[in-house]
Point group: D2
Chain length 455, copies 4
């Protein structure tokens, strides 16, 4: 039964119903729909549209429906969507008084309300998950504060860095993500209910009461905008996509660093799966899935954006296709944040392997250049000189230390002894510039990170 | 239980299993998985790896599993995916002989096989649905062959055209879509099974037999490529997205033309839905949903592409995220093709309204220019002259026919009588160029369309 | 000449250079590059790496190069990019002292600096342009405060609304966009310079001085993150894409409302273009281009995101492909904001046509329902009743007022006279709920808008 | 000057012109525009609209303009687009006869013609470039036919494969890409000229003559479809995006394999670039740029698709934004195909390193399983047994060969001697299944590849 069936001369058959029904897509909104309806009922009672007795009946009826839905005993029929299913069921449970529920309300403002309530809750969870991931990063960095690894540019060893410094890079990405979600939350914190189908209502409603009841800090200023806009979803999906870009970069690095060609870290067995045919395999499936999910969410960003593009105001049914996006995105963000932090926490670090790999490939060339600069050689000249030597040494299969005193003097304006203590540990310690990889600086970062989390 | 559990020191807990399990995503592949396994068993028997008795047991066991899955009685456990669930169940049903099923096979080639079998079947359905939509377009065009409507450029009336001509534009879009799907089918028609995990197998297998049995016309030439590539999905999704662009254009036009501001067509009530608050409303929800679904599929195209980008060969678990895309895309394409053709067939045409709207706004200005060209005025001069007159007439709120004989002579090199029969019907008839909107030409189009479908 | 040529055994030929050179892509960054280098030189002088005389020479040399670039007289050679071109040219102009310029700096931190400086400037312009657009919306809304038009849902007349209310919906979209850009600016306001290639530097630098000099409020806390991240671009492009979704919705509506089928507004001739063949045409090209540009920017959002996905830290050359996105996005945003506000300001409104179209199609049905609710009928019953009547009236080609007193009584619990003043003007006035379309409420919106802009 | 200026009461000012002008975007179409116009003139002459003398004048005038454009001496003014610029210049050069050029033609069919002519030419070049890349793959594979490397799944060593087999995987990707471009070419091979603005023309034109003259095999069957559709661009961009996905996978693998952690290949210096600060660096910039360009083209696929979505027929100015996409995509595809094949040809292979890395990590475990299967153990039992042993050996830091005879017997149903020749070379040779990595099979692949190219 459709509420509008009396106005139509012919009703949709089953295949049409299946095409248009959004039940499987918007089922997830039911707790918010019910909570919103209960607040609405209270407001209607205050406005005199519903008596206190009716209010009680409606609120209890809705509560009962919530239980049915929670327990999977709700008797679905050919309902258009979750909102109409609930109203229909309420009718069955409490009779005619249910006819008053939808007073001064439209599905247009109702659905936006449900979506915003759902999203608000999810964003708060996401912010907590980011924080606990950040805690774990801080702990892991502290634990391994002086472990040295090669830092890359262009996936080529560039300069030695601290493992803790590398890991802290992800702390700051998460920090920006967290701030971004807070901004989304701030803009999402606007009550749409009371906007009616598009123009507001002539009935006497109290939107401030609704806002307070439903924990929104403001009411929407324009009813047409309120039912048309899905900015909160678009912005949320964009922010989620950017978070996933960060997690996919981390996953990529962990996959590489845990391969036998690196063996810098070991991903615990329980985060790996095996092969159906090759008995020796342990595959970093979870990390690969995270990369894959980054694509899924980027796809959602494209979908929701091209959906809205060029759509005239106000509600158009195209918007039903926002449901998948809205339901799946926080689910993926939350479960991925949960699992990546467990992996980071439990992964085993192999400092010796990292350090060994950090000492190859002339990674101290830049240190040599900077030493020459300190001794007075202009930077670009020092750079060219060292480049030339690397080329020569490489051909001979040698490294800096193998230069004879004589050869040394040809190139450098200081005695060879001064290069004695040229090693990755000292190189790292020298990088004392603010934000640099020196242990003192990384400790500063960690301290600042702790402060931020304590706030 | 995982097949690889003996090799691991610690197994995934439930939350990890939930993160990695693809059961809900690849469940849809089971009919293909079972059919593929049955063919594989026959092949193994021919190769001597399985006795005829074992073959019988395995094939019947698989058949039984199929029934359980069809009927929803299959006892799922914490299975990794549908492939492993089936092998596990087979073990339970037929015992140790099930240990032979996976001989000379990997999940890597198995999953690509299932996907290709599924897709092949779906593409064939899609091609049939396109054809029946084309039939309906032909019928509707024929039925309304001489109905005149305004043709737009820039959503402004431009020149009168036949409604049938407009509708036939979509016939040709569908024709290209159909050809495109045939090309996808052609490239999809390659058996991957027998590629093993990535390198082939040392066991004695007969891939030609498998190909024949499973109705593939070729076997894949390179085992690494076979398990790595998802070109067939990417290409399928791209083609589906392009089809949906066409259907979204049609939906957009039908939404506009069926609005009260146009009233050129009526969408039958059963393809509309009502409002929860405004009792008068009949909304073209299905057409709006089609536009929305066009976005969904475009999102999938982005997702599957960015998934594959920069992925090293061969199988990586990121690829699990192709399942949503693979399952949902044909479902949406097929159901949308089914419903749009019903709407096109059953929609009511209002020729009088169309024709009335076709006669406004100086839409015959170009005809006037072409008449002047026929009389010897160079095109660009005729064009400027008519433009100037339109500007003058517009200011005066007049049209061409209201010019006095004197005014007429000032502008035109022929007597005003010649413009007498200037009407949209004649304008349309004049457009006799090949592919033009003259009724004779549209009939030609329809005839050619019928020929194409008869092939 | 490449700075690194002494280290290589073979140098790229011309076709390779053409493939890798980013000169045409990063040319636009030169003013920021020079300003950044000048600040860097001052800092190096304070650190004792450069004498005051050398400082003077370098700063003046850079100034001269700026003039050459401004005037198009800069002698480009086969330079790798704008940064290397400037260093090379400095060498030519001031000789060996130029070898000191790149001390304690890498292209990796330099390019991020340039990008952030550029973007900061552009975001500020965008915020100003949004504000002036908002001013224009306020003015236009005020000017036409009581004009009535049909409000749509599903592109079907739904309820009458004020034109000013409709227009104000876009004010609030712009308000959210503005806030979003402010948030991007806030996160962008972090100095990357001094991060070196990836690890910081052993030389004695003063990043706080640099930050102050270059007007950044903070320095980046982690050198690896600083050179790896392009969050500021991703977030900027996402925000721009969302802004463009809003502008494309407005453009779509203006295209429709200015068509002869509506004639609610006229777009001034100067914002239209003609046809090359149809002399009568005036096409709303600019509005169509805005819709098109919304797609372009969405494409950039996809591109920059899939670029970063799964990229290991730190700098990888893939990132060069961020240049097009960074240069074009603000250009399109700014020029589009400039032109759309001119159109909104100068477009002519036709209140009579709007109002006429607002009175059709039973758009007051919801008012009737609400009246019945006020008189005590439960909402859903009132809704069904009115729906039934609409269906009957529609078949008879009648409207509400044509019901006889007798028929009226059959349906309604109040005398027909009460419906007398049932007209769109009164309907609109009744929508007094907060955020509703009643003139008093729209005036409130405008006042609040003015306050926000005054801040 | 605009051709339509007499019809307008106010003309666009400079900033509006700049916003709408497409000159910088469609400049690249001029050679096709001129060639198309020349054919059009010939056709008009045959139809009697232009005298043979006039024809000569027009064709020569157009030829002169082509030279001016080729040489950069064309005097641009504030032209709307390249088409109008050429008509304007023709007027200046040959006077009034130029007024006849645009007879029976609209920019709408003209621009599609230019685009299709351009694309046809580019696709042919792309197909040739793919072929020459395939030749190089074949040569490189042949040259290194027996080199062994580890094959990966999940970026973990899985089984040994031939380097030539790995490389041939890309041959088959290119083969599918080539076929796909041929299909695009086939669907692109349809002449749109003669469709007029949207409805055809009343003038007497000969489209078959035009098709022949301009080397199209068919004429478009429906004028509305002809000027509306950009399927040929969408399909081309999709195909280009898929090609780039393949090239980005190859680039990713080459970047990894040429890193010092692998050292399987060396990218010649000339395809690398250095660092501005680290003198030792050689970075694989070109390969990184290829990955980056894959993102750019995917962005174009999103842009062009969302552009077309929901656009009513026929021409809308949104379509101007197809120009960037159309111009840049083939440019990137062609230059990338040119450079990647040079890299593949010239890269140095280090077989010893590859082979060494192929012998680690129990990569022969699957061989052992298959051997047990040959000896009669059911597959899954053999698989479990070997998995168990790997776990034990791993803990002891041993490999298969270090098992004592006694231990061996505990696990395996055959004497340890049979495992003697267990080495990667033999493992590879055993993979004789069709499409497998055995040298005989790879030679077959290469032979088949040569055949395909010879066609």
């Amino acid at each position: 039964m459709k509420v509008w069936e009396k106005r139509f001369s012919e009703l949709p058959d089953d295949s049409i119903l299946e095409f248009t029904s959004s039940l499987k897509d918007d089922f997830f909104l039911y707790p918010y729909d019910i909570k919103g309806s209960q607040a609405h009922v209270e407001m209607l009672c205050r406005g005199g549209y519903i008596s206190p007795e009716e209010k009680k009946i409606l609120i209890e009826g809705l509560e009962k429906i919530k239980k049915e839905l929670d327990q999977g005993t709700f008797p679905f029929q050919k309902d258009e969507d979750i909102h109409m299913a609930i109203e229909r069921r309420l009718q069955e449970l409490v009779g005619e008084v249910a006819d008053k529920l939808h007073t001064a309300r439209s599905r247009n403002d109702q659905v936006v309300l449900d979506e915003k309530m759902f999203l608000k809750e999810k964003i708060k969870v996401i912010i907590e998950k980011i924080k606990s991931f950040q805690e774990i990063i801080l702990g892991k960095a502290e634990e391994n504060i002086e472990v040295i690894m090669p830092g890359f540019t262009h996936f080529r060893p560039a300069q030695p860095v601290l493992f803790s410094h590398w890991l802290m890079a992800y702390f700051w990405m998460m920090e920006r993500d967290k701030e971004r979600f807070k901004d989304v939350l701030k803009r999402n914190d606007v009550l749409p209910l009371g906007s009616g189908a598009l123009s507001g209502t002539s009935l006497n409603i109290d939107r401030e009461f609704l806002a307070k009841k439903l924990a929104f800090s403001r009411v929407s200023p324009n009813s047409m905008d309120a039912v048309s806009e899905r900015d909160f979803i678009v912005e949320f999906v964009f922010s989620s996509s950017l978070l996933f870009l960060h997690l996919s970069r981390l996953s990529e690095e962990l996959i590489i660093y845990s391969s036998p060609f690196f063996a810098w870290i070991t991903i615990p067995d329980k985060y790996c799966t095996g092969s159906s045919i090759m008995p020796q395999k342990k595959n970093p499936d979870i990390l690969e899935l995270i990369r894959g999910k980054a694509s899924k969410i980027l796809g959602y960003a494209t979908a929701i954006s091209s959906l809205i593009k060029s759509l005239p105001l106000t509600y158009n049914r195209d918007l039903q296709e926002d449901k998948d996006v809205l339901r799946e995105t926080p689910r993926e963000v939350i479960s991925t944040l949960e699992i990546i932090q467990r992996i980071v926490k439990e992964m085993e670090i192999h400092p010796a392997n990292m350090q060994k790999d950090a000492t190859t490939s002339y990674v101290l060339a830049t240190d040599l250049v900077e030493l020459m600069v300190e001794k007075g050689t202009p930077f670009r000249q020092a750079y060219r000189k060292v480049g030339e030597i690397v080329k020569i040494l490489e051909k001979q299969g040698k490294d800096f230390s193998s230069l004879s005193q004589e050869e040394w003097n040809k190139y450098f304006p200081f005695p060879k002894e001064e290069m004695k203590d040229f090693e990755v540990k000292i190189s790292v310690e020298r990088k004392k510039s603010s934000g640099g990889t020196a242990p003192s600086r990384v400790k500063e970062q960690i301290a600042r990170g702790r402060e931020l989390l304590a706030k």
